[in-house]
Symmetry: none
Subunit: 154 residues, 2 copies
């Protein structure tokens, strides 16, 4: 169990602090991640959070691109110019700074969403909406593929 799974809604206090879910802290420990690194998502009003290897993830992608292409520039800005370290306090809390607040719209509650090697920070309402939309689309895809509706399958 070394992957970020499941999701949690935690509240942001008046100082902007949020507890990182205990389950995630265990994953961080088992992966030897001490410094959290976060960057804005390319498509969604969401922060991607993980260890410093998040950057190498981007670097690997960048190596496949022309250094003078717009995509490369974009990625470079996102990876280097936009990322921030998130120091966690002695209780394992991080602070929702202005950049996160602005990009995600998070105010007094934040949803932590595990996506395997990293996790994300969502505005709770946005996440619920997204999940509902994704589930609906998946259901349509699958019933379209099998021709069967909601009967017992598998």
């Amino acid at each position: 169990m070394d992957r970020f799974l499941s999701h949690y809604v935690h509240s942001v206090d008046s100082k902007g602090r949020v507890s990182v879910p205990a389950a995630y802290r265990q994953v961080l420990a088992s992966r030897g991640i001490r410094d959290l690194f976060s960057m804005r998502d390319l498509y969604l009003p969401v922060m991607n959070v993980g260890g410093p290897e998040l950057m190498s993830h981007f670097e690997a992608k960048m190596e496949t691109l022309d250094p003078f292409s717009p995509e490369y520039q974009e990625l470079a800005i996102l990876a280097y110019g936009d990322g921030t370290y998130l120091k966690s306090d002695s209780e394992g809390r991080i602070v929702i700074n202005d950049l996160i607040r602005e990009h995600t719209g998070i105010t007094d509650r934040a949803t932590f969403v595990g996506v395997g090697k990293m996790f994300q920070l969502w505005r709770p309402e946005d996440f619920e909406e997204k999940i509902a939309a994704l589930r609906e689309r998946q259901a349509k895809h699958r019933s379209a593929a099998t021709g069967s509706a909601g009967t017992t399958e598998r």
Copy 2:
């Protein structure tokens, strides 16, 4: 005997705990599953429960995609972000959390339904209804085919 079979109705206590049927616990042991993971069914108000391989369906599809594409990200959210861990206590009980309660409508009793490689959690009334509907449909099919009336049973 490494498949989940049959169904059991167990009661949920005031703390939200339910005993996982002993037969299922044996299957879990023989499959080497320690951490239970549950996902909402796409069509029914039912939880699908199994080991981490529940996600393999999504992971297989993800491997064919560019990790930077929106499609990949959406699948990751569905596979990892939706659903929850079910920690089981020392007696082999799991806790019906709010997400399960909300999706299934389970209150004080839960039906465990074996479906081979995983099992499901149903609201007992829903399951009985489902079974009745299936049996009725079968009976119709049969009488239509053979011309004989009445429900054929063992």
